[in-house]
């Protein structure tokens, strides 16, 4: 599976570490925080995700991956 890094180009996913689906950085209150941290959308289909290019430039990228086909949008 190939991941596109804006600095380094299209690379095998093994060069990255996976940061999960894109979430908000904070919640307005304690109650909604539980949902933000634990209840993931787990979409079947295109999903926005965070990937860290560990073996390359060591920066994060947000991208869209289709969880059904495991393809990353170019």
């Amino acid at each position: 599976m190939l991941v596109t890094c804006p600095t380094c180009g299209r690379r095998p996913f093994t060069e990255f570490s996976f940061g999960g689906e894109l979430r908000d950085v904070a919640s307005p209150d304690t109650a909604s925080d539980f949902a933000r941290v634990y209840l993931h959308d787990n979409t079947s289909g295109p999903q926005e995700e965070r990937w860290f290019h560990l073996l390359g430039c060591r920066r994060w990228v947000t991208l869209t991956r289709d969880t059904g086909t495991n393809r990353v949008e170019a």
């Binding site: 600095t7 380094c8 690379r11 095998p12 093994t14 060069e15 560990l54 073996l55 390359g56 430039c57 060591r58 920066r59």
Partner: protein, 149 residues
């Protein structure tokens, strides 16, 4: 059969705002500027001029970004040179990465560790964090240097 040799280098790392790095003029002294990330630049030069390189980069970048960081990272990297006409093929034994064109920087997995590859007039230069230096040296000699064809 390529030659595999460790090459001592001076390295300066500059962390600054992307627009500032875009406008930074190279310092001279034969320094090679590698833009490893939008907000980070690595300058590679001979050890004996690295202090001058650092000073020049510092003076130039702080005008464009006053809290930019410029540090000497020379001890933090091991550079392995693959020299000779077979250098590109030697790399294919260590990495799935395509070797860089003339002035480009390629970053990615070489022998399973995070590496940066640049092209030199006599071949390829592979840089890894110094704690992986021994690993890369051994792999390069065994896998690439020992090429049968």
């Amino acid at each position: 059969m390529p030659e595999v040799r460790e090459r001592p280098l001076g390295v300066i790392v500059c962390a600054a705002d992307p627009p500032a790095l875009d406008r930074l003029v190279a310092p001279g002294h034969g320094a090679r500027m590698l833009r490893v990330a939008p907000d980070e630049l690595m300058a590679v030069a001979k050890r004996d001029v690295i202090d001058d390189v650092r000073r020049e980069i510092h003076d130039r970048i702080t005008v464009l970004d006053d809290d930019a960081l410029v540090v000497d990272d020379s001890d933090g990297w091991t550079a392995i040179a693959l020299t000779g006409p077979d250098a590109d093929r030697a790399l294919s034994y260590l990495s799935a990465l395509q070797p860089p064109a003339a002035d480009d920087l390629v970053q990615g997995d070489v022998a399973r560790v995070a590496a940066k590859i640049v092209r030199e007039p006599d071949g390829l230069l592979v840089l890894v964090p110094a704690y992986w230096g021994e690993h890369l040296r051994t792999r390069a000699i065994e896998d690439a240097g020992g090429m049968a064809r």
